[in-house]
């Protein structure tokens, strides 16, 4: 089957029942998408399917079809960080960083829907993401900072 990942069509020979997470990591070497729980509870495996945040551990690769897959590796363009990525650096919104890729993609999707979210809207939208290091207050600040910069979505 074919999969469009980060703007590139990739031909893969895998069972359609495989999880998208496993195919991205193990077949396409896109390891920025993380395994955290395998049951859609932590969102470390978040990717965007046509811009919609999706738990890739639960999504079957056969269900992706023609939807465009974006992983954390595909977010920066020509070496320029997306403003959400830059905001996570500037606000020190990470510790171990294992949740960060999923968090950033979740935040990108949120800001596309809602360019100026309130604290409460961020909390509600991001609540499916776990940061065990507890950087939640900094992530909220980073999302506000990214919202202020706006720009490319």
């Amino acid at each position: 089957m074919e999969l469009e990942v980060n703007g590139t069509r990739r031909r893969i020979n895998v069972d359609a029942g495989r999880s998208l997470l496993s195919v991205l990591r193990d077949d396409l070497n896109l390891t920025g998408t993380k395994y955290g729980c395998g049951e859609g509870q932590c969102a470390a495996c978040t990717v965007l399917l046509d811009g919609v945040p999706t738990r890739s551990c639960l999504a079957r690769v056969g269900s992706v079809g023609k939807k465009r897959v974006m992983t954390i590796e595909g977010l920066a363009h020509d070496g320029h960080l997306h403003h959400v990525q830059q905001a996570f650096i500037d606000e020190d919104a990470l510790q171990c960083g294992y949740c960060t890729g999923g968090m950033i993609l979740g935040a990108v999707a949120l800001l596309r829907e809602n360019p100026k979210p309130t604290d409460a809207e961020i909390v509600q939208s991001m609540n499916g993401h776990i940061c065990r290091c507890g950087t939640y207050p900094r992530i909220i600040r980073a999302i506000h900072a990214a919202a202020r910069k706006g720009g490319r979505a």
Binding site: G32, A76, Q95, C133, Y136, P137
Partner: protein, 675 residues
């Protein structure tokens, strides 16, 4: 596999500085300043650094990065003393071949031990470079300056690499190299962003779970259905029929290797095994309080005034344990997430009866640990499977495996008794911890000495380290009891604490937290409670104030606001410190309010995140951190102690609003009974 000696043969020109720890005879290791790399490499060194001719500084330490950001703070130590840009410094960490031996990254020891050591290493190099420059320029050495990776004198300027002129210079750390006092720091003490942030936000950083090797197989292990069960019989024929599958069977160890992860899952499911159940487990999570006391070494203590219970909790690092192992002949290379890469090396060497020099363990910065990654379980599994399969094997634990077969923060019972004079002075004090541990056992207040004891007991589950160790449990019990004592003499809990300590540093953090929180001014708000707690552990002083709301009816607890003050000597990186404190408060809220491992009959009942709740965005209070910077006191570590204040502060706040005294962690997994 390269050895240390090979490594030094290949390292380019420049300067290498070795640090011989105090107490080791420098002469034995070659001693003093030496030229060339041909002499025997010193064995007893705790760090080394290489300054290449292009000015790149590479520092080698056995400490590891688990999210606490030591990669940044240790880089700052070197940048500070070497007067070199932070970006020129590259840290090689936790590699058993390239880095010197290190016991492990735990106990908040990186800042008090490795941080000053690396400053000495860098200061020695700086002084040596100044010597070289003074000689080359025939300059008055005292007129030289070192700035931005260059030595400067009048119109002269030379980069570090230029000064070495292709020589290889090796030297030991000089105790005479002056360290920069904290009051004059130019890099340290300043808010500094995480040096590895860029590779993390772009998804490029390879965690242990991400390591891939050519021809790598995926490993799975067949665990028993309950703790202690023994393998009676098994049939692997269906698993072996799956293309490419290797079955490993050594005693009770049964494992699978397969070329694709889904084939490994299918093969594991296809194994048919019969198990002999272990004798019935003596306990379940609902029956633990009497268990610890009944099994205590030395029997029971006299009846105490109050009793506090501590549940087992799980670390839940977002990256479960993982390892990749690759054999070459009788040598094995392992990439794994571990706080003790050298300990993992020993485990592997011991298991396979091979010398430690045949084991190379590398620790890519891992997806957190919190004390949970001290052992080499995944590494050993990967190496056992890889040895049989004859190919590299990755063994990545599932979340359920992580929450069942790792170890837990010990549960326990703590008993406290005291008497207090009418004017609020503690007269007698006894404090007994059963099973949960001795860290933070001793009261930081002025209490009669000699009646604080830790009693070993029998573990109901596999137990191990956890961020802060038992300091969380002991502070919970002590600071809850302090609150009870304050109320018993009708004193304000803040006033009672200040009355019972003359320790200036403790008083300062208590006052700082109370002032920022507005303790004195807080007005009774319907449904809101206010609590305070304080303590000292691992060189850090902490005070925490919490405001909670308890819903009526239902008794649901929401922590609205937390103010925490912290003092750990001279602050190394205020940004990192704040981040650690905020994170410790968030993580600590879970163990305070709702986290607990439930088990019965040798099984973990909540072995997944859908059943084991960890703090999320919605649990987040408004957090304010007050940092006290004591440039006159050596820096202590801060990854652990900031977690100890939140549970008692919340418990005391719940009492303040409801009158209900909760004496068990977690406090309110199903809310407070406020009927």
């Amino acid at each position: 596999m390269i050895t240390r000696r090979d490594f030094f043969a290949t390292v380019g020109g420049g300067i290498v500085v070795f640090l011989i720890p105090d107490g080791c005879d420098a002469q034995e290791s070659g001693g003093g300043r030496r030229r060339g790399f041909n002499q025997r490499l010193p064995e007893q060194i705790s760090a080394w650094m290489h300054i290449a001719e292009d000015g790149t500084v590479t520092v080698y330490t056995g400490k590891v990065e688990v999210g606490q950001n030591s990669r940044t703070s240790l880089s700052m130590a070197v940048a500070e003393e070497l007067r070199a840009p932070l970006s020129s410094i590259h840290m090689v960490m936790g590699d058993t071949t390239l880095t010197p031996f290190d016991m492990g990254t735990f106990g908040s020891r990186t800042t008090p031990t490795m941080w000053p050591q690396l400053r000495k290493v860098a200061a020695t190099a700086r002084e040596a470079l100044m010597d070289l420059a003074a000689k080359q320029w025939k300059a008055d050495r005292t007129a030289l300056k070192v700035e931005s990776g260059k030595v400067l004198w009048n119109s002269h300027s030379a980069s570090f690499g230029e000064l070495t002129k292709g020589q290889k210079l090796a030297m030991n750390v000089s105790s005479s190299a002056p360290l920069t006092p904290a009051t004059e720091w130019r890099v340290a003490g300043k808010p500094t962003l995480k040096v590895s942030a860029h590779e993390i936000v772009t998804g490029r950083h390879k965690y242990p779970y991400d390591i891939q090797r050519p021809g790598m197989l995926y490993g799975k292990v067949l665990y028993p259905p309950a703790f202690g069960a023994k393998l009676a019989s098994f049939d692997a024929s269906a698993a072996k029929a799956i293309h490419g599958v290797t079955v490993v069977h050594e005693g009770d160890f049964v494992a699978i290797a397969a070329p694709e992860p889904d084939a490994a899952d299918r093969a594991l499911a296809a194994l048919k095994a019969e198990w002999t159940p272990a004798p019935p487990q003596p306990s379940s999570s609902s029956d633990m309080a009497s268990y610890y006391e009944n099994n205590a070494e030395g029997g029971l203590s006299p009846k105490a005034a109050q009793s506090y219970n501590i549940a087992y909790i799980a670390h839940v690092p977002l990256e479960p344990r993982a390892a990749v192992a690759e054999w070459s002949g009788d040598k094995v290379t392992v990439w794994t997430g571990s706080q003790r890469p050298f300990g993992v090396r020993s485990e592997l060497a011991s298991h396979f009866s091979i010398p430690e020099t045949s084991v190379h363990v590398m620790m890519p910065d891992t997806g957190a640990a919190y004390g949970g990654k001290h052992t080499g379980d995944a590494a050993l599994e990967a190496a056992r499977i890889a040895k049989v399969a004859g190919r590299p094997v990755r063994r990545g634990w599932t979340r359920q495996e992580e929450m069942t077969w790792a170890y837990f923060r010990p549960g326990g019972v703590i008993k406290a008794s005291a008497t207090v004079s009418a004017d609020g002075i503690i007269q007698t004090w006894s404090f007994d911890n059963y099973n949960s541990g001795p860290s933070g056992l001793n009261s930081p207040y002025h209490v009669p000495q000699g009646n604080e004891h830790f009693h070993r007991s029998k573990a109901a589950l596999r137990e191990g380290s956890y961020r802060g160790l038992a300091a969380t449990a002991n502070h919970f019990a002590r600071e809850s009891y302090m609150d009870e004592l304050a109320h018993s003499v009708s004193m304000d809990p803040l006033e009672f604490r200040l009355k019972n300590t003359t320790d200036e540093r403790l008083r300062n953090v208590i006052q700082a937290a109370a002032d920022r929180f507005g303790w004195k001014d807080h007005k009774k708000t319907a449904g809101h409670g206010f609590g305070i707690a304080a303590g000292f552990e691992k060189g850090g002083y902490i005070a925490t104030c919490a405001e909670v709301r308890v819903e009526r009816p239902g008794g649901a607890v929401k922590v609205l606001r937390v103010v925490e003050s912290f003092e750990c000597g001279a602050i190394v990186n205020p940004l990192q410190l704040e981040n650690q404190i905020e994170g410790a408060i968030m993580m600590g809220l879970g163990g305070a309010l709702f986290e607990q491992i439930e088990f019965a009959n040798g099984k973990i009942l909540n072995d997944r995140l859908a059943r084991y709740r960890v703090p999320r965005f919605t649990d987040m209070p408004a957090i304010e951190v007050v940092l006290l910077d004591r440039k006159d006191i050596p820096s202590a570590g801060a990854g652990e102690t900031p977690i100890v204040g939140i549970a008692p502060a919340v418990a005391n706040a719940i009492f303040d609003v409801t009158g209900v005294r909760l004496r068990s962690l977690p406090l309110a997994p199903k809310g407070v009974n406020v009927s």
